[in-house]
């Protein structure tokens, strides 16, 4: 099987974010692979371990995106491609999806393209659906288990708010993976060494025979949320029962129930 996994580079989830002169800053926090995408890489690798084949990691970003790609390679992906084009600097989700779809077509012959559920920086969660629509492939999102794959179809379980849905789709297909799928593996020592030596080809929009798509969404301003004044009050004194009664009164006074 040929599998492509899309990985994005994001500031570490522990980063304190701020806005300096209108620009987003994550201080000295590291850039890492989007945590959801680690599950995607795990699912892609397990598919090839069971059914044979290769996993290609694909990322759109600048030079910095190499950390995400390295992580995917260190986990066991056999190749990686970075789409790096300054014209993509202000890309919105659809522009990103169009470029990823073009790259997926240029890579060619993919049976499955695997995504994370959502990127923890932009928090959009629509890229997998958009790429599927652009390619005209079925999308199985929120996949928690892949039960069967054969030459022409895939059976999987989706975890939704309302319950679990068993679905079957024709191949090629787009998948997005959720945490219930199972913990992603840690990169092995050999994997890390291999990843650090890997040559990662870089493509521009022109290399894929497209012009960089125009963004349909603009973000005129990014702000730090207004500081919330929280009147902290520690409830203390007396037995647990008395403290609980005081707290209950305080909660009632807030009139939120």
């Amino acid at each position: 099987m040929k599998i492509i996994v899309c990985v994005k580079q994001v500031p570490d989830s522990a980063a304190t974010m701020s806005v300096d002169n209108g620009k987003v800053s994550w201080g000295d926090a590291p850039l890492v692979i989007n945590p959801w995408d680690e599950y995607a890489v795990e699912a892609a690798l397990r598919l090839t371990e069971e059914h044979g084949g290769d996993v290609v990691a694909l990322s759109l970003g600048d030079e910095n995106a190499k950390e995400a790609i390295k992580h995917a390679l260190a986990m066991g992906c056999s190749e990686a491609i970075l789409v790096n084009d300054p014209a993509m600097a202000g890309a919105d989700t659809q522009a990103v999806a169009r470029v990823l779809a073009a790259a997926i077509q240029k890579i060619g012959d993919a049976d499955v393209v695997v995504f994370g559920k959502q990127a923890i920086d932009s928090d959009v969660g629509a890229t997998p659906a958009m790429v599927a629509r652009l390619l005209g492939w079925p999308a199985l999102t929120l996949v928690s288990q892949i039960s069967e794959v054969n030459g022409s179809s895939i059976k999987a379980e989706r975890t939704m708010e309302e319950g679990r849905q068993q679905v079957e789709a024709g191949l090629p297909a787009v998948l997005s993976i959720v945490k219930d799928y199972g913990e992603p593996r840690y990169p092995s020592f050999i994997g890390i060494r291999k990843a650090s030596r890997a040559q990662v080809p870089e493509w521009t929009a022109a290399d894929m025979g497209i012009t960089a798509p125009e963004a349909m969404v603009a973000w005129p301003e990014v702000m730090e949320p207004p500081a919330r004044q929280i009147a902290n009050e520690i409830i203390e004194g007396g037995s647990p029962e008395e403290i609980a009664a005081k707290l209950a009164d305080k909660i009632m006074e807030e009139k939120v129930l």
């Binding site: 945590p35 659809q94 997998p128 599927a132 679990r164 349909m216 403290i243 707290l247 939120v256 129930l257």
Partner: protein, 348 residues
């Protein structure tokens, strides 16, 4: 006159998400402001009654695609109905709830209609026909103003961020039958089965959430049953006793049960309860955190709750900085009394 504001009613198995009515109600307000009408879009099979409810919440017209092929939710088939109707009706604005279905349908419709999508919007203003929306990014650590340059402007609204909807049973409206838009062999997805999740209040719709963290397993006084011997099993068993206390309080308050990732990863409770950056982002009116330290990734998911209460043994736990009320104590000692006290006050 064509209705220029549309609202998508997200339903599953004939049941609309509560957030769907928030979207219809907010759409009504927007339409009034723009001097136009509101159309709701209802897609499914056997969902005529939802069309009537949409009218009660403010729709003038309902595009009702009611077809056996739309019985099971399949993203592409649903999105195609919406996009096809929108390419004919030419709305200015289409609103969706920020559910997982809302996100992916809006995304697919954006592709079909070649326009932009603003996801998880928490506030918006109109400048003429142009929406200027605000959405959290980096798990709410920052806010971004966003505008859609294409038409229609596709927008998903965060649950509970807009006014509480009020139904008006005397409202009337028209229902326009709308065809399915994809043939079975184009859809390429089959739904083979379905198991319903455990019943309970959904986290994102809950107005009260009572959460537990790793601290739920910390009670040396508890004696596990004789057949629970393995160390990890003992820890889980203990945590489950803690989560029982949490569940009792949640049910008295009519709320949902949440958890930290540490609690989920340790196997105390399923992932569907996880609150935080890689769980659910929630903003209930009341959030009670028990044995949760307040890591940045957890705070990201609940910081915007109206009133936060923290119960934690450690006076230096970061969660206290975000709490309106804090109790420095063992959750096992406080919770049973708090549940009893709340029950008394709520007269249950």
């Amino acid at each position: 006159m064509a209705n220029k504001v549309w609202a998508f009613v997200d339903q599953f198995k004939g049941k609309a998400l509560p957030a769907s009515w928030e979207v219809v109600y907010t759409g009504r307000k927007l339409a009034d402001q723009m001097g136009t009408g509101l159309a709701a879009v209802v897609i499914g099979s056997g969902v005529q009654d939802l069309a009537q409810t949409a009218i009660q919440y403010g729709a003038d017209e309902v595009f009702l695609a009611d077809d056996p092929s739309l019985d099971d939710y399949r993203a592409n088939a649903y999105a195609a109905v919406l996009a096809q109707a929108a390419s004919q009706g030419e709305p200015e604005i289409v609103l969706f709830p920020t559910s997982t279905r809302g996100r992916e349908m809006a995304g697919m419709a954006a592709v079909d209609l070649n326009t932009g999508v603003l996801v998880d919007v928490v506030a918006m203003e109109l400048e003429g026909d142009q929406l200027v929306a605000t959405r959290p990014v980096y798990a709410g650590k920052l806010l971004s103003k966003v505008v859609c340059k294409g038409r229609p402007q596709l927008v998903t609204l965060r649950a509970r961020a807009f006014e509480k909807p009020v139904a008006d049973a005397s409202r009337t409206g028209t229902v326009t039958a709308t065809p399915a838009a994809m043939a079975e062999d184009e859809i390429k997805v089959k739904v083979m089965g379905y198991e319903k999740a455990e019943a309970g209040v959904s986290l994102t719709d809950a107005s009260v959430i009572v959460s537990g963290g790793r601290g739920t397993s910390n009670n040396p006084k508890l004696d596990p049953p004789a057949d629970v011997t393995d160390e990890a099993e003992v820890e889980i068993w203990k945590a489950q006793q803690g989560f029982k206390l949490i569940g009792d309080l949640a049910s008295v308050l009519g709320g949902a049960v949440g958890a930290s990732r540490a609690a989920v990863d340790a196997g105390y409770i399923p992932y569907s309860h996880q609150v935080g950056q890689t769980g659910k982002v929630v903003s209930p009116d009341l959030y009670i955190a028990n044995g949760i330290s307040g890591a940045i990734q957890h705070l990201a998911g609940m910081r915007s709750s109206k009133v936060i209460v923290a119960i934690n043994k450690d006076p230096d736990a970061p969660i206290f900085k975000y709490a309106r009320f804090g109790v420095v104590a063992d959750l096992y000692e406080i919770l049973p009394h708090l549940t009893a006290a709340m029950k008394e006050r709520l007269d249950k």
